[in-house]
């Protein structure tokens, strides 16, 4: 076989190009820490990375929404706890107004206490978080209950539709509630009307109305604690969800890392090998160039 110099140089150049290409690729991996940067590096891995990154962005958003929902539910829970306390206190005040032995001063004191508790309860159901009413349903900025100058509280003015947010795919949690569902429920009168009737009855010593009001407060308390349980369940859902989202994010990040991250130890070792191959190819070209029969011509 005739071996020409152009063949030798072509082979040498091919070897050198291959070695330096390999070295550059590994050098890029070491400097960026990524094995896959362009789709053509590994089309299948890149496609999966895109889907995973989409999932991560969604998980991140769900986490933000869940955090926001947790804050809102905490506010609702606190307001509702206060409302429960105020309803319970109203029951105590009612008891203190009942009985034929009560003096007018004692009944007036009970009536004043009931007025204060009514106003506190009104403040509870009108709790605002980030500019919207927590118990205003989907109305947002419409105040659920208002009170006029003589202490008469309006009927429920906000929306009965509650607002939920998605804290994960297929998992939603209510974050804005319908106050009427525990202030009135299925009763004929809402709690504020009952309290106003009780205040009037306390002053008048109307035992029958006080007794009816006490029963209504019992039912309101049940409804409020029921809603509190619902909010508590929502809080637990959010808490569980945040843990799940965090785990899902870690899993997705691990998958992305496995798909696109370079094995640095392998890349550095490969770079050294490529370096040696390049040096060897250079040496081979040099050695080939030195040897020629022409050198022996005198």
């Amino acid at each position: 076989m005739r071996v020409t110099f152009s063949s030798m140089y072509r082979e040498a150049m091919s070897g050198l190009e291959g070695a330096i290409e390999r070295r550059l690729d590994l050098q890029r991996q070491v400097s960026t820490g990524k094995r896959v940067e362009r789709a053509s590096d590994d089309p299948s891995a890149m496609a999966r990375v895109i889907v995973e990154r989409g999932q991560q962005a969604a998980l991140d958003q769900y986490t933000q929404t869940a955090d926001s929902a947790a804050a809102r539910l905490n506010v609702a829970d606190t307001a509702l706890s206060d409302a429960v306390k105020h309803i319970s206190a109203a029951q105590v005040a009612l008891v203190s107004a009942r009985g034929s032995q009560k003096t007018a001063a004692e009944r007036e004191a009970a009536a004043l206490n009931l007025e204060a508790l009514r106003d506190a309860l009104l403040a509870d159901v009108n709790t605002v978080h980030r500019g919207t009413y927590v118990f205003g349903g989907a109305s947002g900025t419409v105040q659920p209950y208002t009170k006029n100058g003589v202490g008469v509280v309006s009927a429920y003015q906000a929306a009965t539709t509650e607002v939920s947010v998605d804290i994960e795919r297929g998992i939603e949690v209510a974050v804005s509630f319908n106050a009427e569902s525990f202030i009135k429920g299925t009763d004929a009168d809402d709690l504020f009307t009952v309290l106003n009737q009780a205040i009037t009855a306390a002053r008048a010593g109307d035992q029958a109305t006080l007794s009816t009001a006490n029963l209504a407060l019992d039912r309101a308390l049940d409804r409020a604690t029921g809603m509190q349980s619902r909010i508590g369940a929502g809080q637990r859902t959010v808490e569980d969800d945040l843990a799940r989202l965090s785990a899902a994010m870690r899993g997705s990040e691990a998958r992305v890392a496995a798909l696109e991250d370079a094995n640095l130890a392998e890349a550095v070792s490969g770079m050294q090998q490529a370096d040696q191959a390049y040096q060897a190819a250079l040496a081979a070209v040099g050695a080939t160039s030195r040897l020629s029969l022409m050198d022996y011509l005198k």
Partner: protein, 465 residues
Amino acid sequence: MSDLFRSLTSATRAMDAQRFGLDVTGHNIANVNTPGYTRRVADFAAAPPEHQWSAGRGVDVVGIHAQRDRLIDRRLEQEITAEAREGAIASSLGVVEARLGASGRSIDARLTDFFNSFARLADDPLSAVARQEVLLQANALTAAFRSTAEGFAEARRSADLRIVGAVDEINELARGIAAINDSIAALGSGRPEGALHHLRDQRSVLVRQLTELADVGILEREDGLIDISLAGGRALVVGDNTYAVSTAPTGPNGLSVISLNGADVTGDITGGEIGGLLVVRDVHLPTYQQRLDEQAFALAGAVNTVHAAGFDPAGNTGQDFFAFSAPPVGVAGAAAALTVDAVVAADGNRIAAAGINVAADNQAARALSAVRDTRVLDGGRATLTDSWSQLVYRIGRDVQAASHEQGIRREVVNSVETLRDQVSGVSLDEEATQLMKFQRAYEANARFFRVIDQTLDLLFATLVR
């Protein structure tokens, strides 16, 4: 005595022959790096004796031949055509791939940002900031679609421009080959072989350049001329005649069709750089573009359907969220024309976040955010992100396949070139031995000349005495 003089003549011819051998060797060494050069070999033959008592008249130079293997040359041309095709595909699509951007910095990221903005709006439906963010992300998303569509269109135009340039090169090369054919024909039947080989080498360089541009058929004739055909057998060069290849922009895209002798041959050129560019321009890029258009169209359709069913905070019923600056034909043109509807773009409060006519309801915003998980493409099998990842996969796979194929073809070209070098290449070691061989032969013949000369001297001296 006359035989002695004939011996002197014979020695002189022999020395001339060896000098010719040295000359050929020198020519080979001089052209060791000349592209297309084929190694020359001096052909010697023993000169026959004149009569019964003559051993022979020494040596004759009967010619010079170039060491060429037509089969290997043809194979090399075919492989060069294939390598150039894959190289053109890899190079053109590589640019397209680079324009796509890395994952997390392309349409996929804009899609997730857009849907996340609706999730944030759902969290706070009356927030002016959240509404502005939706508009911001929607504008970024439509801009990403338009930019990617423009990237594909630009890549098609670039491929087309290069095709036009390559066609000009084909015409130039065809004229060069025809001119060399003409020169070879002009040498006539008693043509000097050295000049003939020189012209053939020059022609082979042009043919090689031509095979890089397109798949051509080459027919070497008895008279040493070559005819070249293009695009499935249509004549490009016949002897010293050429047939012009031309390009003309056609259709709404203004992309060029290639004509040869009046016939449209665009679809018949499948190899070489032009073949690769045509595949990129007419197959790959339109496929990518269609996929992108389908995504833009599906996005607009899915979002508009939900948005139109919602209500804005003022209680207005929803309307289309996305619009097209120019109506798509089917889905064609959807990506390039995708915009945010002018009414919505002008007023963030026109975003319909509510599913019922209550200001702070968020059901529409939640449903819009959930479009990210809705399988709106491929007959309900793929989400928008799935579809984008499939497009990126396809482009990456096409680039990878073309690069891989180009690498294989390059190896084959190298191997065939090595085979060609084994036949036609110049080996300096071999030429060095040739130098020594001819030098030694020259010295021996010169010595022979001196011996005859001395013999004649001796003869003349005897006669004078």
